[in-house]
C-alpha cells in the first residue's frame, strides 16, 4: 500500500536510464515522486514545497547534467539536502556559566516529556552532573508520581512539592526549584511541564510564565516522531508561545518515517538535539541526521538493521551464525533453527525486511509476511529427531508424516520445508563463493578488503560502513549472487537498484504465484 520513494523512482528511472540526460519534464516527474514520498513520510506540506522547489533548482544545474546517471544524481541531491537541513549546526547542550543550568521541557500531551526528563537526567548523571528533576506537570493525574519514579530509577533527585492532579501552581514550583537546586548543589535543573495544545492560549501563557520564572538555558521542544501534518502548526505555536532552542524527537524506535523532524527543523530553524528510542532510561541518543534522511526517504537502512542486531546479540555470536551459511553442505536444520530464533529476537521479520535495500518492490508481499510462519517452521524442525535435523536427506515419507503429526501441520508443509532447505543449501554454496559478506568466511573476494579500518566510527552512509569498499571497477555487482553488490560508495542512491543476483522476487514470498 505504501509505496516508497525507492519504488517510485525505480519506475521513473527505468524509463530514464537510457537517456543519460534529464529534460525539464524528467526533472518534474522525478520531483513529483519526491514530493509524494516526502508527504507519505509525514513531512509537512509547506516544507515539502520549499524543499522540492530547492531540489528542482539544483537538479537543473551542472552537477546533474554532467553526471553519469543524472536521475540518481537528483536523489543524491535530495539525500544531501535532507542531511544538510536536519543536521546543520548541530550543537551540544549549553551549560550555564553559573550553575544551575536550567532545562525546560515543553510539548503536546503524550509526546513523552516525563520519560524524556528521566532519560536526560540519567544521561547527565552519567556525565558527572548532579541533575534535579522538577515536577511541574500538575495537570495530568499522577504525573508527579511518574516523575518521582523516573527520578528514582535514574538515581537522581526530584523536587516535587505539590501533589499535582490539578493542585498546585507550576510557575511557583519552577521558581522555587532553582533556589532548592542551589541549596542542594545541583548543577542542572530539568523542568517537566504538563502537555499542552498549541491553541490552548491559557496553558501556553502558563508555559511562558514558567519560562520567565526560571530563565532556562535551554527550552527543549519534545515531539513524537509519529506526528503528521500538524507538526507545523504545533511547532509554530510553541515557537510563538514559549520559544525553544532545541528539539527532541521521541518514539523513534517505532516505524514512523519521522518527516516531522524535517518539518520542525525547517519551520523553526531549531536543531534536533536528541532522539529517544525506547522506554528504558538508556534508550536515548544524540540525533543522527544521516540516518534520519535515509529513514525519511525510506531507502533501506542497513545501519539500523545492524544496530538492532548489536543490541540483540554479540558480534561473535553473529559472526558464528553467519559463518555457518558459508559451510554449504554442513549447514543443518539445527543451524537454521538457531538462526531463525536469532532473527526472531531482532523484531518482526517484516520490519527487518523493510530495512534491507531493494525490498521496496516487494512491499505487497512484505505485508503478508508473518512471524507466525516462522513459528510454524520452528515447530516443524522441533518435531524432527536430532539425526534428521543434521542429515535432512534421511527424511523419507514416513518420517515426514510423523513430523507433520508432531508439529500439527500438513505433510505438504514438511515437504516444502525440506525441498527449500536443499535449495537454500545450494544457494549458500553459490553465495559463499560469489560474494563478499564481511564476517562470513568463504567470501573469497572480500577476505582482503572487507576489514574496515579499526576504530573508524561508523557514521555517514550506512552502506559504506563495513561493506566492500571496492567500487564498480572490478564489477562486483556483476557477480552472480552478489547480493550486496551495489552497496558500494559513490553509487547512490542506495537501494534504488536491486543488487544483481539479489533478486527478492525469487524468494517466493507469500502472495506470489
Amino acid at each position: 500500500m505504501f509505496e516508497t520513494l525507492s519504488d517510485r523512482l525505480t519506475s521513473v528511472f527505468s524509463s530514464l536510464r537510457s537517456k543519460g540526460r534529464l529534460s525539464d519534464a524528467d526533472i518534474d516527474a522525478t520531483c513529483r515522486e519526491i514530493r509524494i514520498a516526502l508527504l507519505e513520510a509525514d513531512v509537512a506540506l509547506p516544507v515539502v514545497k520549499d524543499f522540492v522547489a530547492h531540489v528542482k533548482e539544483r537538479a537543473r544545474g551542472a552537477e546533474v547534467s554532467q553526471a553519469l546517471n543524472p536521475a540518481q544524481q537528483v536523489v543524491k541531491i535530495v539525500n544531501d539536502e535532507l542531511i544538510e537541513i536536519l543536521g546543520g549546526e548541530t550543537r551540544r547542550l549549553r551549560l550555564a556559566k553559573t550553575p544551575p543550568t536550567v532545562i525546560m521541557l515543553a510539548g503536546l500531551q503524550g509526546a513523552g516529556k516525563t520519560t524524556l526528563a528521566g532519560k536526560l537526567a540519567r544521561w547527565l548523571r552519567d556525565q558527572n552532573h548532579a541533575p534535579l528533576l522538577v515536577a511541574c506537570d500538575l495537570q495530568r493525574p499522577n504525573a508527579v508520581q511518574q516523575l518521582s519514579v523516573m527520578a528514582e530509577r535514574a538515581g537522581v533527585a526530584v523536587y516535587a512539592p505539590e501533589p499535582g492532579n490539578g493542585v498546585g501552581d507550576p510557575v511557583r514550583v519552577a521558581r522555587e526549584s532553582i533556589d532548592h537546586a542551589r541549596r542542594q548543589q545541583h548543577d542542572v535543573v530539568i523542568i517537566d511541564t504538563a502537555g499542552r495544545l498549541g491553541i490552548d492560549q491559557e496553558l501556553m501563557a502558563q508555559a511562558a510564565h514558567i519560562r520567565d520564572a526560571v530563565s532556562p538555558d535551554e527550552v527543549l521542544f519534545v515531539v513524537d516522531a509519529m506526528i503528521g501534518q500538524d507538526a507545523v502548526t504545533t511547532a509554530q505555536a510553541f515557537m510563538d508561545g514559549v520559544g525553544f532552542d532545541g528539539v527532541v524527537l521521541t518514539k523513534l524506535d517505532g516505524d514512523a518515517r519521522g518527516g516531522a523532524a524535517l518539518s520542525v527543523r525547517h519551520i523553526t530553524g531549531r536543531p534536533i538535539m536528541f532522539a529517544s528510542t525506547g522506554e528504558k532510561l538508556e534508550d536515548f541518543d544524540a540525533f543522527h541526521p544521516d540516518r534520519m534522511a535515509g529513514r525519511i526517504l525510506d531507502m533501506g537502512d542497513i545501519l539500523t538493521l545492524i544496530e538492532q542486531a548489536q543490541r540483540t546479540f554479540d558480534e561473535a555470536e553473529a559472526a558464528k551464525m553467519a559463518g555457518k551459511l558459508a559451510s554449504g553442505d554442513d549447514f543443518t536444520l539445527d543451524d537454521f533453527l538457531e538462526q531463525m530464533m536469532m532473527v526472531r529476537r531482532m523484531g518482526p521479520i517484516k520490519n527487518l525486511l523493510g530495512m534491507m535495500p531493494g525490498m521496496g518492490q516487494m512491499r505487497d508481499q512484505l505485508n503478508q509476511v508473518d512471524d507466525r510462519d516462522l513459528d510454524r517452521v520452528a515447530a516443524i524442525i522441533r518435531s524432527m529427531t536430532p539425526g534428521e535435523r543434521s542429515e535432512p536427506k534421511i527424511i523419507n515419507g514416513s518420517r515426514r508424516a510423523r513430523i507433520a503429526r508432531g508439529s500439527g501441520v500438513s505433510v505438504t508443509e514438511v515437504n516444502n520445508l525440506v525441498t527449500r532447505f536443499f535449495e537454500a543449501q545450494k544457494m549458500m554454496k553459490r553465495m559463499s563463493q560469489g560474494i563478499g559478506i564481511p564476517g562470513m568466511p568463504g567470501g573469497k573476494r572480500n577476505q582482503k578488503q572487507a576489514k574496515p579500518k579499526k576504530g573508524r566510527r561508523v557514521s555517514g552512509d550506512p552502506r559504506k560502513a563495513g561493506l566492500p569498499k571496492e567500487p564498480a571497477a572490478d564489477a562486483p555487482a556483476k557477480q552472480p549472487g552478489g547480493m550486496l553488490g551495489n552497496l558500494t560508495p559513490g553509487k547512490l542512491p542506495k537501494g534504488l537498484e536491486l543488487p544483481p543476483g539479489f533478486d527478492p522476487s525469487k524468494f517466493n514470498l507469500p502472495g506470489q504465484k
Binding site: 503536546l108 530509577r153 516444502n416
Partner: protein, 383 residues
C-alpha cells in the same frame, strides 16, 4: 561491526526457508488454528534496577498521597448528546478544514490551481496522498454533474462527500452490554501516550453516568505510576480498580479484573493496557496473551484502539498491526480538541473497516463523546 553484516545473509536465508515454505499453503486466517508458538516468552520488561547510590537529596518531604484529599465521588452526567455539546470545541479547531474546502469549491473558476489547493487542504489534514487524490477526483466529477454551484449546493455536495468518506453506514455502537449475566469486557490498546488511560477513565465515568456499574483493570504494570493514574480516575467516579504489582504480569491483572467484574455482577469491565509500539514483537505478543487470558474467563466484547489525532501516516500501520494481534473492533480518536485533523482515520476505516466509535475532545473528565458522523461533518463545515 563486520560480524554483524552477515546478519543480512541470515535474514535472507530465514525468509527463504522460513516464510517461503508456507507461501504455497493456504494461510490460516483464523488465529485459533495455529500451533502453539514455540514459547519465546515475552518477558515483561523489568524496570532497570539501579544499584548505585541515589544522589544526595531526597524528594522534599511531603508524601504526595497524604496531600490528596480523599476523593469525593462525583455523579457524572449521562453521555447522551455529548457530541453536540462538544461541538463548539470541535468547531474551534476543526472548521478551518471544512471552511477552507467550502471556500475553494465556491470559487467562480475551478481551475487546476484551485484543485491543487483542495488537494493540499486534504493532505494537510493527514488524509494521505492516495485517498486525497481519490477524493479530489470524486469531487471533480460531482462538480461537473452539478453544473451550477450555488452556496447551498456546494455545501450539500461537500457535506455528502465528507460523509461518504467517514462512512455513516458503519456500526458504531460500543459493545457495553453482554448477553446473559456476565459483564461486557472492553480492552483498551494503543501506542504510548495516545490517551489510553484517560480514555479508559472518561469512558468509565460516562458509563457510570448512564447508570452502569464499572470495574477497571490497570493492566499497565509497566509505566511508572500508570496504575495510580487509573486509580485517580476510578476514585473520582467510584469505580473499583483492580491492580497488580508493578512490573507484574498484565495478563493476570486483566484476568483478575474480569473475575472481579463477574463476582461483583458489574455491567462493564474496562481493561487499560500499557502503551506499546506496534513494532515490538515481544510486547505485542504480551498483548495477545492479555486478550487470550481474559478469554478464559469471558469473551472480549470490544477492543478499542486509541489513536492520537496528531498521528500521521503511521496510524495506518498501528491499526493494521494491533488489528492482527488483538482484532480491534473500534477506534477512539483522541486530542481532536487540538489543531490536528486526524485524517488518517479515513484510510483506517476504509481499509480495515474498523469504525471510529469515540472521540476525545479535551482533558476534562467529560470530554469524551460517541462519534456521530453527521454532527462531526456539520461541525467541520461550521454554520
Amino acid at each position: 561491526m563486520d560480524g554483524y553484516i552477515g546478519i543480512i545473509a541470515i535474514i535472507i536465508v530465514v525468509i527463504l526457508l522460513g516464510i517461503g515454505t508456507t507461501a504455497l499453503l493456504v494461510r490460516p486466517r483464523s488465529k485459533t488454528t495455529l500451533p502453539p508458538p514455540p514459547a519465546p516468552t515475552p518477558q515483561a520488561p523489568a524496570p532497570p534496577v539501579e544499584e548505585e547510590v541515589v544522589e544526595t537529596v531526597a524528594p522534599p518531604a511531603v508524601p504526595v498521597e497524604e496531600l490528596v484529599k480523599p476523593p469525593e465521588v462525583e455523579v457524572p452526567p449521562p453521555s447522551a448528546g455529548r457530541m453536540v455539546r462538544l461541538r463548539a470545541r470541535l468547531a474551534r479547531s476543526q472548521t478551518t478544514l471544512g471552511r477552507g474546502l467550502l471556500e475553494l469549491l465556491s470559487r467562480d473558476r475551478l481551475d487546476d490551481d484551485v484543485w491543487d489547493e483542495i488537494e493540499e487542504t486534504l493532505i494537510t489534514a493527514d488524509v494521505g496522498v492516495a485517498p486525497t487524490r481519490a477524493m479530489v477526483e470524486d469531487l471533480k466529477t460531482k462538480v461537473k454533474v452539478l453544473g451550477s454551484r450555488t452556496p447551498s449546493e456546494v455545501r450539500a455536495l461537500l457535506r455528502a462527500e465528507l460523509l461518504t468518506q467517514i462512512d455513516p453506514g458503519l456500526d458504531r455502537t460500543l459493545h457495553t452490554s453482554a448477553p446473559g449475566e456476565r459483564p461486557a469486557v472492553l480492552l483498551v490498546v494503543g501506542v504510548n501516550g495516545t490517551g489510553k488511560t484517560t480514555t479508559t477513565g472518561k469512558l468509565a465515568r460516562s458509563l457510570i453516568g448512564d447508570g452502569k456499574t464499572v470495574v477497571l483493570g490497570a493492566a499497565d504494570t509497566f509505566r511508572a505510576a500508570a496504575a495510580d493514574q487509573l486509580q485517580t480516575w476510578g476514585d473520582r467516579v467510584g469505580a473499583p480498580v483492580v491492580r497488580g504489582p508493578e512490573a507484574g504480569d498484565p495478563a493476570s491483572v486483566a484476568f483478575d479484573a474480569v473475575a472481579r467484574g463477574i463476582a461483583d455482577k458489574a455491567d462493564v469491565v474496562i481493561v487499560d493496557t500499557a502503551g506499546r509500539l506496534h513494532t515490538k514483537t515481544g510486547l505485542m505478543d504480551e498483548l495477545g496473551k492479555v486478550k487470550r487470558v481474559i478469554e478464559k474467563k469471558a469473551q472480549v466484547d470490544e477492543v478499542l484502539l486509541v489513536l492520537d489525532a496528531t498521528t500521521g501516516q503511521n496510524g495506518m500501520r498501528q491499526a493494521q498491526v494491533f488489528g492482527e494481534v488483538v482484532n480491534i473492533t473500534g477506534i477512539a480518536l483522541t486530542k481532536l480538541d487540538g489543531t490536528a485533523k486526524g485524517g488518517i482515520v479515513i484510510s483506517v476505516q476504509r481499509e480495515l473497516g474498523v469504525p471510529v466509535k469515540l472521540v476525545g475532545l479535551g482533558e476534562g473528565p467529560d470530554d469524551l463523546a460517541p462519534f456521530d458522523p453527521e454532527v462531526f461533518v456539520d461541525a467541520l463545515l461550521g454554520d
